[in-house]
Amino acid sequence: MNAYSADEMMSVAASRTLRDGAVCFVGIGLPSTAANLARRTHAPNLVLIYESGTIGAKPGHLPLSIGDGVLAETADSVVSVPEIFNYWLQPGRIDVGFLGAAQLDRFANINTTVIGGDYRDPKVRLPGAGGAPEIAASCKEVTVVVRQSPRAFVERVDFVTSVGAKRDGLGFRGAGPRRVITDLGVLSPDPDTAELTLTALHPGVTVEQARDATGWDLAVAADLETTPPPTAEELKILRHLEATKGGVSA
């Protein structure tokens, strides 16, 4: 058995959700790591799209930002930023949106805008929306990759930057978040209530730990699964990937 960190388990679990040949709109950070890992393991034909306009990027190292030069160099096509949003994301032709989050709630609404106080006088000013609202709305489905903690997993987000699993009547093309991959396990929206439910735990993690890391009374699936641990191959490739990240440690 291999020693691995919780973050490594998270990246591996997220990467496994991507089927080969899928078209994936990738946010930077954890989502990008997971998507690039998938392309190097079970999904060599995964199509990576970054909001910088790079379609079919095949980066040889982990891009540090969504505008890393390696994305343009290796893409099938580089288009303008308006085009990537209008022609490629908006019509619903992307299979999976891969997003991170600063704050996330019971219904997988995502906040990356402000925490605490109110919008004009927040406790913490975060970067804002970027591409996330439309990625969440228009991709056929969304996977969220985020570390689980009571600060991040809150009853109600302070600001809805991107809409979660409760989206009836909003006219979206996409089904929204289908799973939230964390460093502890996997949460999925209940098909009826859209409430996030713990459906899998990573090896060695307890339900108690997951509950303690969640700011609401976390529902747990009856048939709770255990994530298979990272294989030696997955770990090797992931670590190699992380080591190549443009001169900056994660």
Binding site: Q90, T113, G128, G130, P133, G246
Partner: protein, 264 residues
């Protein structure tokens, strides 16, 4: 016809107090040198427009050049937060900063409308988010054929757009390649424009994926090699990732920032 002038003269002529100014470049080709020249020339009360205000706008905001920011993602990519931006928003230092906040899709379409001579753009966006409650420049619009309700955003037409490119020829035609972002739209949407370039060449050799801006849609071109540092110019330089990390402690601290500013 774009005249080739010095960066100093271009900024002195084109950027005026109170202007709406867009410096664009999506991670790639960010016109840092032009931003620094605006700081040195002490422009004030600017409305700064940019999809991804990163270090260059942290610097302009910290220097007190801006009264308002129109944006969709404000962070230090791969590192963390913009502390001068945070300080201005939370504590009005050195001056208060008004925010007009959008998503990338919305900002991109606002430039498209501006470049197209239309007063607004239509998109599927913002629905269900709290942005619609905070930003007045997001409104519903109904399709006259299907009755479907979509979202409208107004055109951006900055007084000045500034971008950085790899090459200009001597007639002021400009070519840029790699990640091309929203630069064409920014230049075409603006009343005046400045392009800083890595190199002035006799002839622009056509390149795959290049955007060419003809001289007659550009006001001024300035030869500023390295003008995108610490961002990069595809084919000329690589991103100085270390600088982005080094900025974090500088931006975090008013005193450290003030020292940086004095040395600029």
């Amino acid at each position: 016809m774009a005249e080739l002038v010095s960066l100093h003269d271009a900024v002195a002529e084109l950027v005026r107090d109170g202007d709406t100014v867009a410096l664009e470049g999506f991670t790639h080709l960010i016109p840092f040198a032009a931003g620094h020249e605006i700081i040195r020339q002490k422009r004030r009360d600017l409305t700064l427009v940019r999809m991804t205000p990163d270090l260059v706008y942290d610097q302009l905001i910290g220097a007190g050049c801006a009264r308002k920011l129109i944006f969709s993602w404000g962070g230090n990519p791969g590192v963390g937060s913009l502390h001068r931006f945070r300080d201005a928003v939370k504590d009005s230092w050195p001056v208060p900063l008004e925010l007009e906040e959008h998503s990338h899709a919305g900002m991109a379409n606002r430039y498209v409308a501006g470049a197209s001579g239309l007063p607004f753009a239509v998109l599927r966006g913002y629905v269900g988010t709290d942005l619609v409650h905070q930003t007045e420049t997001i409104k519903p619009i109904t399709c006259p054929f299907t009755g479907e309700v979509l979202t409208a955003v107004p055109a951006l037409n900055p007084d000045v757009a500034i971008v950085h490119a790899q090459q200009a020829d001597r007639a002021g035609n400009v070519q840029l390649w790699g990640i091309v972002g929203v630069q064409k739209e920014a230049v075409l949407s603006a009343r005046r424009s400045l392009v800083t370039v890595e190199e002035v060449v006799d002839r622009l050799e056509p390149r795959p994926g290049a955007v060419v801006l003809p001289s007659w849609v550009i006001t001024r071109v300035a030869h500023v090699p390295g003008g995108a540092h610490p961002s990069y110019a595809h084919g000329y330089s690589v991103r100085d990732n270390e600088f982005y990390q080094k900025w974090d402690p500088i931006g975090r601290d008013r005193e450290a920032f003030t020292r940086w500013l004095e040395d600029l």
